[in-house]
Subunit: 445 residues, 2 copies
């Protein structure tokens, strides 16, 4: 009857009934035909939408007014801090670098070859700590380029610096335990420490980097997040006496040092300064490096180099957090490094970014003159132009669109006392673009 009424085949109706039986809406009773399952009562699920004016016999689970958002306290903090970071990414493109020389063609060729070669075997791998070939290449590179002292077995491949910090914070800190961070600081690292439930405290910074004398002698802190090669955001390099004092303090107090070495590959004046980890003899330093800046952010490859007795704990935590990093990108990068293409590209990129640095420094000196004081610029992909304390640097930064991207220095300070300035990311533009942009933005701005 139904088939006739609907002008469909009998099979179609049979299939529909079979599905209703499968899903538990109706049941077939011998001699009684097919009937709605009794236990459903009025609770049939597909209620009419609210706008319907018809009877609402099936409204038991009708769509109700939106519930108030029920997040945990940690959840609210994560949502709030993460949103601030997203807004800032959108506004400034902070982390996008743009080295025109990147050999996309070579990279893609490697990728195609590896994808063909590897097939299901590679792509079904479970390398929590990363693929062996890449871990070896990273150990070699970090040791040559950054003086890091490690075996390949101490390297853990992760998706990003952010994941490295988040993992370390969750693994090493207890909720409500103090954690230390430089002030001013990298806000995403601050957010990760907060997300781990830490009681985050700022440590002041001067021309030699974090003021080690300001560290508490009896410390309950679980870790101290530092950027010794290139303080974020101010740009200075931590002095050797400070480094040694910091390591002594870490050893005395048993505090972990989380060293974020995010862009010191780009050392424009003189030779690179070795990583803090290179001086550590007490296994207190956890080193974080990334390819998302040296190569490109969409690569999603960074690494941790941890003391031997932490390797298993980090790999195990990684299993719970998201599993492991996509193997294909790992083999491609391993080959890119082993073949010498990485080193070659890095040399070109260094020259390019040094030109960008020079363009910023020169054009600021020419155009802005005494209106600003420039911070250190020997390393990395950004520079701070300090402004008088009364300046509204947020309003000023908001006026700048396009490249180079600009962020207000005050954004990076914890607490009430905030210095004013513009943090200029010159990794996102070529030298000529930079000069033009600086010229457009004349003091008093």
């Amino acid at each position: 009857m139904l088939a006739r009424d609907l002008a469909v085949s009998r099979n179609t109706v049979e299939a529909a009934f079979a599905q209703l039986v499968d899903e538990g809406f109706v049941e077939r009773r011998v001699g009684a035909g097919t009937v709605v399952v009794e236990s459903l009562g009025d609770a049939a699920p597909f209620a009419r939408p609210k706008s319907s004016q018809g009877p609402r016999a099936t409204a038991a689970i009708a769509r109700t007014a939106p519930q108030p958002l029920r997040l945990g306290e940690r959840g609210r903090a994560m949502a709030e801090l993460g949103q601030a970071e997203i807004d800032s990414d959108t506004g400034t493109g902070t982390w996008a670098t743009n080295a025109p020389e990147f050999p996309w063609r070579d990279w893609n060729r490697l990728q195609s070859r590896q994808a063909r070669r590897s097939g299901s075997e590679l792509l079904a791998a479970f390398p929590q700590a990363g693929l062996t070939e890449l871990r070896s290449q990273i150990a070699k590179y970090a040791s040559l380029a950054r003086g890091v002292r490690c075996e390949a077995g101490q390297v853990l491949v992760v998706n990003s610096t952010q994941q490295a910090i988040d993992l370390a914070a969750r693994l090493l800190l207890d909720p409500r335990q103090p954690a230390l961070i430089e002030n001013p600081c990298y806000p995403s690292a601050y957010a990760a420490l907060i997300a781990a439930g830490a009681d985050v405290r700022g440590i002041p910074v001067d021309d030699e980097g974090a003021v080690v004398e300001a560290l508490p002698e009896k410390s309950e802190a679980g870790l101290f997040y530092v950027t010794p090669s290139h303080q974020f955001p101010l740009g200075m390099t931590m002095s050797l006496p400070r480094r040694l004092a910091l390591l002594h303090w870490a050893e005395r107090t048993g505090t972990w040092i989380l060293e974020d070495d995010y862009d010191s590959e780009f050392r424009h004046d003189g030779r690179p300064i070795a990583a803090l980890q290179a001086l550590d003899r007490a296994d207190r330093v956890i080193y974080v490096g990334t390819f998302n800046k040296v190569l490109f952010p969409g690569l999603r490859l960074a690494y941790l180099i941890v003391p031997e007795n932490l390797v298993d704990a980090f790999a195990a935590a990684r299993r719970i957090v998201d599993g492991y990093t996509a193997p294909l990108a790992q083999v491609v990068l391993a080959e890119f490094m082993a073949s010498g293409q990485f080193a070659r590209y890095l040399r070109q990129a260094k020259r390019h970014f040094a030109d960008c640095r020079n363009a910023v420094v020169e054009s600021i000196a020419e155009t802005w003159g005494d209106a600003v004081r420039l911070g250190p610029s020997s390393t990395g992909l950004h520079i701070v132009a300090h402004l008088p304390g009364r300046t509204d640097d947020r309003a000023l930064a908001a006026k700048v669109h396009g490249t180079p991207s600009v962020a207000p220095l005050s954004r990076y300070y914890l607490g009430r006392e905030k210095k004013k300035g513009l943090m200029i990311h010159y990794g996102t533009a070529g030298p000529e673009e930079i000069r033009a942009a600086i010229r457009r933005l004349r003091p008093p701005f």
Copy 2:
């Protein structure tokens, strides 16, 4: 003099001294030459190794005995639970599927084309919630294949089911807040809840799935993690009355339901049952799906479908946790879906895995006979063979090597009462391999 003594060029010595100056070890004083920086004192960093018998003037930071491992309480739990999961992966290859028909050639061709086309622009993208094209494809697929009711804007691309659960737990739960999970359960989900600091409580399961009547009427629980389409590990589908009762309970108590729909694409008998999310009218269900099982684990692509008012919070939390998922895999998958290749592959894979299921069920019936009782097998990629309560299923599972991979059922129970059996993952082997393996393992085993 040094150049002569060492038989190197004067430039080499100059460069070495310049580096020592840069690194802060020595300083140049007008009229006095180059001297070791005074403030270093005895704290020179490159101490001799301990084995050296010479004088130890530079031993201030000499390598000391390994410190006891200082992890937080959460860190210890993460390390322990994660390690158990890794050990279990290694032993059983739980999550590796092996559908011989996967069109690697087509996939790689798409990937090469996208990699060429996209270049730096795509790879510098910041899509916390995922690339728009892929979110649209997922919304369409989840709605057609699983009855999920959503807009593309509610889809968040993540790396894995594990990351989805971890994100939800951290975002929605407060430390020490109760969280509910089926008992027996998926141990990696349990681990993620523990890692979020939750007070995890098991809810019993019977033939109709989670026993909703056992849920506390006054619940403080933040969320309930369920596997309604294919209970993990027992394999039953949650009945419709239970689904409705669960949704009513969630609405009354304001508890989030975290629905893990990990492998119900593979419905071997009858048509797929719609997801629990399809019945939710109160926006309480957070749905998790994954391509790491349907396609291949190394892809590292899964997704969350969340109520609209949670989208921003999840995207923001993702920013703190690791940033975003690699864009290249996302565009490749979006095209693979849009072109119809995904649907085509899925049909082939379904046939393949149905053959595997039949091979397991038939050969167990033939070979093992009454020694075991088989659990439901209409869905997914595994089946449970129940054994008498006195059996040592761990010892038994440990005897099985190769494919199909086998895990002891008792491993998945919380608390002391554990049922015994073998959980057989037939996604890792072809039908003939399965028959041979079952035949080899004869009762009483």
